[in-house]
């Protein structure tokens, strides 16, 4: 299943609920466009909820990195929420787990934004 996203706002933080696969092609484009759309609107506190993302390939990992650096370069913050075991393991072996700010509780994650 290709990636589907929906956004909601909690205490000024934009939570992007993602479900499906973040892979080369459409999945990566959907994520890129969603983040770009938020930044265009001046929304720079972004929490990617990956709880329903069951698959991610190297292109998808690259897209997460791109989103992270793009938001950060514009003075914003991007955090990850609710990693599945598969995504968690991938971020571990690529040493990105410690690069991203990863949360497993939405309320705590929202509070962690400055």
């Amino acid at each position: 299943m290709n990636l589907k996203t929906s956004t909601r706002q909690v205490d000024g933080v934009n939570i992007v609920d993602c479900s499906g696969r973040i892979t080369l092609g459409e999945g990566s484009v959907v994520l890129r466009d969603q983040v770009k759309d938020l930044l265009t609107k001046g929304q720079k506190k972004i929490l990617l909820n990956l709880g329903d993302v069951n698959y991610i390939d190297s292109s998808g990992i690259g897209e997460l990195v791109s989103a992270y650096t793009t938001v950060r370069n514009q003075g914003g913050e991007l955090k990850l929420l609710n990693l599945t075991k598969k995504v968690h393991d991938l971020l571990q072996i690529t040493k990105l787990y410690t690069v991203f700010d990863v949360k497993d509780d939405e309320t705590a994650a929202v509070k962690a934004f400055h």
Binding site: D57, S58, G62, V65, T69, I93, K95
Partner: protein, 148 residues
């Protein structure tokens, strides 16, 4: 599919990438691998096919990707060939180096080596052949740490 060999000749398209992944998933399942290993094998095949389609054949409609599955007594051997310029692995930066962590590409070969027991990359002027080997017995679930 003990002793069997399956081979496909595929177009250089994104659909080929999905198709290769799905076929690898099916073949690995039928070969008796566990769920985690099936995921590792299918992801390794996906990454190798992405390399063949994008970096090898560069989406050229005149160039094909060959995908071959062979079940030997001890291994599942998957071979992917493209018709590109030949991959020079030495030119791929180590994605685990601190300076490379935030790069948006360059993790495919690393993931392939992380997920498979043996990987043989043979570049030539007529393309690249990558052989992915997973031992049927003795492979551990959950993957092995990459040494790269």
């Amino acid at each position: 599919m003990s002793g069997d060999r399956l081979s496909y000749k595929l177009d250089s398209t994104l659909e080929t990438v999905d198709s290769a992944e799905q076929t690898a998933n099916r073949v690995a399942s039928e070969s008796g691998f566990g769920e985690d290993e099936v995921l590792q094998i299918s992801m390794a095949v996906r990454e190798a096919t992405v390399n063949a389609v994008l970096h090898g054949n560069a989406y050229d409609p005149d160039k094909k990707v060959e995908l071959e599955f062979e079940r030997t007594e001890n291994d599942l051997v998957i071979t992917i060939r493209d018709q590109g310029k030949g991959l020079d692995e030495n030119k791929i930066p180590n994605p685990l180096e601190p300076d490379n962590l935030l790069k948006t590409s360059g993790r495919g070969i690393f993931l392939i080596r992380s997920f498979m027991d043996d990987v043989q990359i043979t570049p030539s002027q007529s393309g690249t052949e990558i052989k992915l080997i997973k031992h049927v017995h003795g492979a551990t679930a959950g993957g092995k740490e990459a040494s790269q």
